[in-house]
């Protein structure tokens, strides 16, 4: 029997699964750095859908998006992690439940 080519929806489902895992991590974990990593995972899930869509539409725009998302993620990582370091110096912890500087 001849296998069909991999359907694109499968890629999207994989992206959705990874995204959801990341989102659950963001919601549940208390460690700021792990939350940050979950955000990165969510970004990657989206990247996957971009590249899959671009591939199935014979276009490079998806790849371009991913490129710039990576650039932004790199910048975000640099600044975000620096902020974590600062918060750690200020508060002595990076447990998200203990940090509410924005409390109204």
């Amino acid at each position: 029997m001849m296998l069909p080519d991999i359907p694109q929806n499968l890629y999207y489902i994989l992206g959705a699964v990874l995204f959801t895992i990341g989102a659950v991590g963001v919601i549940t974990r208390r460690n700021a750095i792990i939350v940050f990593m979950c955000v990165e995972l969510m970004l990657n899930a989206v990247n996957l859908t971009f590249i899959a869509s671009g591939n199935f539409l014979n276009s490079l725009d998806g790849v371009m998006f991913v490129f710039f998302i990576m650039a932004v993620a790199a910048g975000e990582a640099a600044v975000g992690l620096a902020i974590f370091v600062l918060i750690f110096r200020l508060k002595g912890t990076i447990n998200i439940d203990d940090i509410h500087l924005l409390k109204g």
Partner: protein, 662 residues
Amino acid sequence: MAEYIWLIPVFPAIGFLINGLFGRSFAKGLTAWVACLSVFCSFVVSALIFAQFLNLPAEARVFEMTAFDWIVSGDFSTKIGFRIDALSIIMCLVVTGVGSLIHIYSAGYMHEDPGFRRYFTYLNLFVFMMLILVTADNLLLMFVGWEGVGLCSYLLIGFWYEKDSAANAGKKAFIVNRIGDFGFLLGMFLLVSTLAAKGVWTLNYAELQANAHLIGPCLAIPITLLFFVGATGKSAQIPLYVWLPDAMEGPTPVSSLIHAATMVTAGVYMIARLNFFFVMAPTTMMVVTVIGLFTAFFAATMGCAQYDIKRVLAYSTVSQLGFMFVAVGVGAYAAGIFHLMTHAFFKGLLFLGAGSVMHAMSGELDMRKMGGLWKKIPITYGTFLVACLAIAGVPGLSGFFSKDEILWKAFSLDNGKFWYMAFGMLTAGITAFYMFRMFFNTFHGECRASEEVKHHIHESPKVMTIPLMILAVLSIVGGYVGVPHLLGGSNRIEQWLEPIFGAGHQPAAHVASWSFFNNAYASSGATAHGDEAATEMTLMAIAVLIGLLGIFVAWFFYIKNPEIPKRFVKRYNNFFTLVHNKYYVDEIYGFIFVKGLFGLGKLCKSFFDEKIIDGAINGVASLMGGVGSLIRRVQNGLVQGYAFAMIIGAIFVIYFIVRMIP
């Protein structure tokens, strides 16, 4: 020359700007020169235009020009435009002529005052605004002048603002005038909206006159009544006359220029200008006449019980303005304008004379502290006498011609009635009485002043007496432009104003029923002028006699038997107090309007404002605060809460997107 009409208001404006902007660095003399010259230049331009008009046929004596468009909105457009015609040239000549004289007089009168430059700046601004008022070619620009003179009046009444009484008098004048101006504005709105409904958008006099027939008789009455409310405010008629007596707090030349000669006649000018509306509303004409009559009478009686010279003159002004309104009310516009002119001469003169007396008496105004001044200040005395004779209607002087014209017209025209004239004659008699009461008390009898004041009495300098003399000459000869046909004249002023007011009216039919004198004259062949001449002659004689009687009574009471008035005052103390206190009109107004408004205001403040409005606002504020303190709990600063909220939002968004997929 008429195309230079715009120069007339511009000269005083230039004077105002020069003195207002650079006056600080000027010497006093230069300020006075600038001010007087600017007004005098306007006078010269007016005189040149007048001379040019004299050589033109009657129909050609009108010139309109547009400086530029002012308000253009849809179909409606108003221009800054000027119109000079037979009526406004008379006004220009009076305003600039009398204005120049009073400016010159002021240079002497105000010489020691620290506010000298401010005074002349305001005075120039006033003349500028007054000329705008009389030369405007549309109602809106006229209203600019109307408000402008009101402003200057306020500034100049409150000129010595350190005195509470002056500041309050200024405020009073301004507020009372505001009520009148409100009527003027409403009249203008009603007029524009009425005409606009018929498809005519204009405020220009000529176009209004052409389209006056579009206004139905039922709307003509409210429009003209509203305009008349404006006139009562500016021209101090019942019920809005109360500001004028208080306006005497200002410097005397101001009273002379603004509150006697020019500004207060603006209402008369306005009604004369809008005569084509007023003839459409006989009801309004009747109201104008009756109000004028009652104002004339009441003001005259109040004038009999005042001791302050300037107040007597103020009531006399109110009274004379009442006469003018009688004239325009019965439709004798030319007679009203004629009286306006002569009144400007002799009343301006009277005020300047009063100023001269004050100058001599070191600022004293109470006639009980004067007397016997005639030897010491002869020029003032002579000119004052001329003015008093003129206002009393002694034959040969200007007041006689104009007042008599009004009395005759009030009787003989279609709208005229006999009792108008009778009441007017009575008032004229009272006028003669109180003017000469003041005159005798001031200049004759014993000098009742204190010793140091007595020692100081002296004649005013030439800069003040020369305007007095010029005005005295004008008060004598000013009447000869309107000598009636009866006395062999041709009533030139009526002919002059014909293009504006229409031809002179023939006496109405009801006059003939009074011609029981005719038979007496018929035999002597004196009926060359028709049946009415005899009646007219008789009534004129009666009027003159009444005037002379008033003078005689004044002489009898105050020179011959000075005890009589004192006894009279003792005996009828209540009545005298009532009149002396101006019938308590101020108090009544104060109680009804001022107190009433204050009470209403307090009620509104305590109940409406504090309870309802503040309550609503504070309620809204506390509601916001409460909602905010509730919502604030959402902002707990925990990042995961925010992320969770985002996810819930995303769930909704995706739900809708998925639903949209077919």
